[in-house]
């Protein structure tokens, strides 16, 4: 039986893997450096080959536990992202004649002076920093110390808000703490895969193949819940093609069947959860028949799914942006976790909730606390003791750390619009393209009194709006550590020097901090010294990495926290002993609620945005690589044949997709891969892609009530012919 016997499984998974080396022709690497792919949160290990300070080869790391040599198409094309024509090579400042090159001295002094001036005049909360979710632990640690410990504002926000905020808030509401329990090896042991709103075939190809390998061996069935027939859904044993937004009703209905038909052990469920009988009562009204209308699924489909869930011995439940990017994202996630708990799928091989983030460091930034409400080691700014402990390690007065959470990006932008936030420093992120209602976001960013954008490329949609741009190093050009989505730590070695005058982001921020007088706080000799200081913040915490060092990470690749001592082997799976933060886990009771904007007579279709496998986010890296870009050279819109007929649209037509906020020119793809009533567009295209190509010009500023994550999967649009 799957899930009972784990021995030998790792090797028994089909044909041997091939490790492909991507190398520049006729150049031999003279040295190799350990690294991790800079894209998604899976965290595939890479070897980076260097000759004459150039990256000339990349290959999947053969002995890395995550990918064992395999990579995906994005990793395959990493050589193409480093030496592009649009690398930002020098600091530049907006002048009368456009952007003018300045020296690093001038740039750093300007940043330091502007931050100092605005804080002196308007208080610390007139400053905010917005960073990507692909930085390293040391970087987040320094940004955190600088913003919260030195400047005295908690306005340190990250783009993780756009992709996993609801998922994390859901985990915290259910488990009582942010500690994803599963490991990737659970893919090898599960006997059911429940995949909700998650196209991992395109977004996590290496993990999807691992799941397919496992299924080939075990025949474990796959349930996919998705309004689209994605590549993931097309491999499913049961595809529930749900109406967009109806997940809470579906989850409650599955719970209804599980409980009503006696498919679960209620005694176990009571032992594990603190409020099983409340859930039992709550879901009585959610019979499969009662939710058929709202979910668009038949009672038989829902009942069948419930039976598959109930019969599994080790169910692995995973979800993605279909749940997270919603105005009720937290409700969707927590009601899915209800199913995990009442079926007792926790703490055993193959069982549990699997939360794989979209960006490479979205786990790490949480443990370091690079969000407006957190401090290092999953501490909270609202807790006096937490502030005192961190202030001591940081060597700053405890009162310097504010007791109220800072602002999420939506409120930062609103704060700029109201004139409350004067200076915004953005690091390796492109909100002018990725924030919903991007026409509004661009306007707000442009009116920021002083906008500093640190990036590897220029122009991006966001650097275009900056008053000052700073050239930051990117992957392979800086070093540090990174935690992947299974809590696994990895060391990334700096392989080459950054191009031009670009510098590692740590150096840039610490230089400014020192110019502002914070010399003692940033007297680190090297990156490892920062790691060692951060480690002190984790002792005794869930993310304890006291037993990890750079030296150990060179050997123990992907070691999973907690690792409290140097001889501790790491923790593959959390909560094996039911040691939950609150004693028991909590079931969350929610009703279905429609998205913020639903189709009507004027805008009759629901827009779902999402990714395609050959692109990443706003294309600042992947859009320039012909091998990746040629498959989807322009925005497209997938339409169901019925909707296309009504709109008078034929396959291949150029059309305008219009919402109340904007319009996008796109190529219509008429097919049966999307549920009638909805259309799908890739979210990668921004205003730099071409006229009328910014897909987020359509999307809506609606946010999850507790996680403040935007709703990218639902807004009302119409499709008109050009």
């Amino acid at each position: 039986m799957v899930g009972c016997d784990c021995e030998g499984d790792d090797d028994d998974d089909g044909p041997a893997r091939t490790v492909r080396e991507i190398a520049e022709p006729n150049i031999e690497a003279s040295s190799w450096h350990m690294s991790v792919c800079p894209y998604c949160g899976v965290g595939c290990g890479l070897d980076v080959g260097v000759a004459d300070n150039r990256v000339v080869a990349v290959r999947g790391m053969e002995d890395h536990p995550v990918n064992r040599g395999e990579i995906c198409l994005l990793g395959q094309n990493l050589l193409g992202i480093l030496e592009t024509d649009d690398r930002l090579l020098h600091p530049m400042r907006k002048g009368a004649g456009g952007m003018e090159q300045i020296s690093w001295d001038q740039a750093s002094d300007t940043v330091a002076e502007r931050i100092r001036a605005t804080i002196d005049e308007h208080g610390p909360d007139s400053f905010a920093m917005y960073v990507s979710a692909s930085e390293y632990l040391e970087e987040y640690y320094v940004y955190n110390k600088f913003v919260k410990g030195c400047l005295g504002t908690n306005n340190l926000e990250s783009s993780a808000r756009l992709c996993w905020a609801s998922g994390v808030v859901g985990l915290v509401k259910a488990f009582g703490g942010d500690s994803p329990p599963c490991a990737y090896e659970d893919f090898d042991h599960a006997d059911l895969f429940f995949v909700a709103g998650y196209n991992l075939a395109e977004s996590k190809p290496v993990i999807f193949r691992r799941m397919m390998r496992s299924r080939q061996r075990t025949q474990a069935p796959i349930i996919v819940v998705d309004p689209r027939v994605t590549d993931t859904a097309s491999r499913a044993d049961l595809h529930l093609q749900i109406k967009p937004g109806a997940d809470v009703a579906l989850h409650n209905a599955i719970a209804h069947v599980l409980i009503g038909e006696g498919l679960i052990d209620e005694g176990e469920a009571r032992g594990l959860t603190d409020n099983f009988d409340e859930l039992r009562e709550h879901v009585t009204s959610f019979s499969p028949g009662a939710v058929a209308d709202v979910t668009g699924l038949t009672a038989e489909e829902i009942t069948r799914a419930a039976h598959m869930v109930g019969e599994a011995e080790a169910g692995l439940f995973m979800w993605g942006q279909g749940l997270n990017q919603s105005s009720i994202g937290t409700r969707k996630v927590t009601t899915l976790l209800n199913l995990v708990f009442i079926t007792n799928n926790v703490g055993r091989p193959g069982a549990g909730p699997m939360a794989i983030t979209g960006q490479g460091s979205a786990m790490g930034l949480r443990e370091v606390g690079a969000l407006p409400h957190l401090l290092p080691g999953f501490r909270k700014v609202t807790e006096e003791q937490d502030r005192a402990e961190i202030a001591e390690i940081w060597g700053v007065p405890p009162a310097r750390i504010r007791p109220t959470p800072g602002k999420p990006i939506s409120m930062i932008l609103e704060g700029i619009e109201r004139g409350e936030i004067k200076v915004l420093w953005i690091i390796h992120s492109n909100p002018a393209a990725t924030f919903p209602d991007s026409t509004w976001a661009r306007r707000v960013l442009e009116q920021t009194e002083f906008l500093i954008v640190q990036d590897a490329y220029h122009p991006t949609e966001t650097t275009q709006l900056a008053d000052l741009v700073l050239p930051g190093a990117q992957w392979a050009e800086k070093g540090g550590t990174l935690t992947n989505s299974e809590r696994g730590l990895n060391l990334i070695e700096q392989a080459v020097q950054p191009p031009g005058e670009a510098r590692p982001d740590l150096d840039i921020v610490m230089d400014v901090a020192r110019r502002m007088g914070f010399r003692d706080e940033f007297a680190y000799e090297n990156t490892e010294a920062i790691f060692e200081e951060y480690k002190r913040c984790t002792t005794g915490r869930a993310c304890d990495i006291t037993g990890v060092s750079y030296e150990r990470l060179r050997r123990d690749r992907g070691i999973q926290w907690p690792v409290p001592t140097p001889d501790h082997p790491g923790t593959v799976r959390r909560f094996v002993d039911r040691d939950f933060p609150r004693g028991k886990v909590h079931l969350n009771l929610y009703e279905h609620q429609a998205p913020a904007e639903v189709p009507d007579d004027t805008y009759p279709l629901n827009l779902i945005t999402g990714l395609v496998g050959m692109q990443y986010h706003s294309r600042t890296r992947t859009g320039k690589i012909p091998a990746l870009a040629r498959a989807v050279p322009e925005p497209f819109v997938d339409m169901h044949a019925n909707d296309a007929r009504v709109a008078g649209v034929a396959d291949g037509d150029h059309v305008y997709v219009e919402s109340r906020r904007g319009r996008v020119r796109a190529r219509a793809r008429v097919n049966e891969t999307i549920r009638a009533g909805s259309v799908f567009m890739p979210y990668h295209f921004g205003s730099l892609s071409g006229p009328d190509q910014a897909v987020n010009a359509l999307t809506i500023r609606a946010f999850d009530e507790s996680a403040k994550q935007p709703e990218y999967k639902a807004c009302a649009v119409r499709v008109v012919t050009t």
Partner: protein, 161 residues
């Protein structure tokens, strides 16, 4: 384009008559070119001799997306209206030795982009692409293949590889 003329002959639009009939019946009116939403149809240059002015597709430039509009406007029997699944333009084959998904990099662009998705190219249990009998030779897989040279070999109908 060289591969079209030098080795394998021309990849003709969907519903095309056999080569000799097409060359004979095509009146070089170029209406098929005018309706092309993807700018896929090109006309044989003078160096193409008998094929001068007749429609063909260069999948490296722009493949056929099976919109099936060109046969509808053809005034002769050169292009006949057929269902997309019977457009019989040619046959693709995956070159497994260089295909990413067969050699350690999970890719699947061909599968994902195929207009006859899931039927003409399928994936095996390990997500490695396999071309089936249902392939009509539209060339989209060749166009999107990220390897260089491409790991798809496309043989126009009537030609042998």
């Amino acid at each position: 384009m060289s591969f079209l003329f030098d080795r394998s002959g021309l990849l003709r639009p969907p519903g095309a008559a056999d080569e000799a009939d097409l060359v004979g019946s095509c009146i070089r009116c170029a209406r098929c070119v005018e309706v092309r939403p993807y700018q896929s149809i090109r006309l044989g240059p003078i160096t193409a001799l008998r094929s001068y002015g007749t429609p063909f597709i260069d999948p490296l430039g722009s493949p056929c997306y099976l919109c099936m509009r060109c046969p509808e406007v053809c005034p002769t029997s050169a292009l006949t209206v057929v269902p997309a699944v019977e457009s019989a333009m040619g046959t693709a084959r995956v070159i497994e030795e260089s295909c990413y998904s067969w050699t350690g990099t999970v890719c699947n662009q061909c599968y994902r982009s195929c207009p006859l998705k899931g039927t003409a190219i399928d994936l095996d249990d390990l997500l490695q692409p396999v071309v089936t009998e249902a392939c009509v030779g539209c060339g989209v897989c060749l166009h999107v293949c990220p390897t260089e040279p491409r790991s798809i070999h496309l043989v126009p109908r009537g030609e042998t590889s």
